[in-house]
Subunit: 210 residues, 3 copies
């Protein structure tokens, strides 16, 4: 399906850019930056394929995801010196691309679960969640950050809400509309959460003071 | 089997509580605490299912493990302010619940290997070990601690001894008695080790001084 | 095939030694050192088996890899006090054994992909890469180092070049010669990179200064 391919390319590029930006923040060399971008972009899909028993994972059978990730990482690296203004701008751009990837892969993961006839609310949501958060978790673990999923209020929750909407809408609306809805809801919830977190950083630090 | 269900619930609650307590020590917010609890409680079983080729893993097909983990995490969070006295008490409680989870999941993992007709000493012990230590390893990696399995003398060893006893007893005793034996031996060895480590913290630090 | 067994033993010993040396640098106790050695030695192969759908992974069906890893870790631990001179020598020895393991497991992984009839350039290279880098990545994550694959210029690249040579040579030369070629090229590229990095440490630190 054409739309699925477009979604896959958008999600792959978005996560590759987020991985490359994190790599540059951590001052990795160019090989490290590209590696981190690739792992972030294909990691969630590999987990999802393992969990549904689709081996070898698609990302190892078709080089296109690898090549797109490498291209996106190189473009990010080249543009970096031009767009770079401050560390906080880079961080916000990273969070934006991470949110796009989260929304796109949640929709793709939930859709794949339905296509594999796992017509069960819980596994549809789980596959959306794992596709959406897997790549970012590996990215954060590799560079020794605590994963976003543990420190951001609405991260897993955005993906779970998006997957829930996808599951309950897929009997009533076309598959394309379901994908758009799931992406839009996940992405919007995450963006709202990012904005909220930026406004209230200090409250959060002290909320569970020990 | 009724006993298996009871074991699964006890192990899930125990690991969820240990994950929630670690999350609170690390000052995660409530969503992070619940996420860490869920990942700790279901992580070992997911690894085990992947390794025996049981896809999708049971934890994604049945929401009960997820719901139990969320409930246990919320209870831990609510009780926390009441039971909280000092950081060392919290840490001991965490180690106790981790030890219960280690014992229960070692027994369940070894039992599943036998039920899948992998009647080979090594794989029975391996599946007990992976079920037992997997969730805790993911928990510790996510919050950037060195996993307990690497820093505690008797952690993997407790699980290996328990799995060995299960394997050699399962031809002679009932499945229930085997599960109890395996749990009891793993848990007791681990408790003895916790007590020993608390008494000799300084020796350990300097043992391999460089 | 005899050569495959020899390769497997060499690779297992090399990665186990690298894991044990990292464990000693991190001042783990003997159980932690042995655990880290075992995980490093069998981790890449387990990932590879999961990805090609070979469950349970070979490392859980045959205890020999486990026993070899434990033996290598104990020997490393015993010899350590005798060979130990300075932290930088230990680090170089670790990198050398890691490079041997990288070369051997790249060759074995690429070979297994061909033997499973995945006669596709990309997946042969991917399986070589995952077998080669997987164990070391787990080792570095467990002790909270940023994985070598992200900070060393020629690490994944060495494995990718080796796997490429294996793929394009396997129609023309014997399987044995292909394995030797792949090992030799991966190992040599990695060694050259280690030497290069040791000579230019400061340039690297400041290259992407922010």
């Amino acid at each position: 399906m054409f739309l699925l391919n477009v979604f896959e390319i958008i999600g792959t590029v978005a996560f590759a850019v987020s991985g490359a930006l994190v790599g540059m923040q951590k001052k990795l060399d160019l090989f490290g930056i590209v590696t981190l971008a690739v792992v972030t972009a294909i990691g969630g899909g590999i987990f999802r394929d393992l969990f549904i028993g689709n081996t070898p994972p698609t990302a190892f059978m078709q080089p296109k995801y690898f090549l797109i990730s490498v291209g996106a990482a190189l473009c990010t690296f080249i543009c970096y010196s031009k767009i770079y203004k401050s560390i906080s701008i880079i961080k916000n751009v990273m969070l934006l691309f991470d949110a796009i990837g989260l929304g796109v892969f949640t929709a793709l993961g939930a859709n794949i679960a339905i296509n594999h006839n796992f017509d069960n609310f819980f596994i549809v949501v789980c596959m959306g969640l794992i596709s959406g958060v897997g790549g970012g978790m590996i990215r954060d673990i590799l560079v020794r950050d605590i994963p976003l999923i543990l420190i951001k209020d609405i991260y897993a929750v955005a993906s779970i809400v998006g997957g829930t909407v996808f599951y309950y809408s897929h009997s009533y609306v076309s598959s394309s509309l379901g994908l758009y809805l799931c992406f839009f809801i996940t992405f919007t919830l995450r963006l709202i959460s990012i904005k909220y977190n930026f406004n209230l950083p200090t409250t959060k630090e002290t909320r569970y003071h020990m």
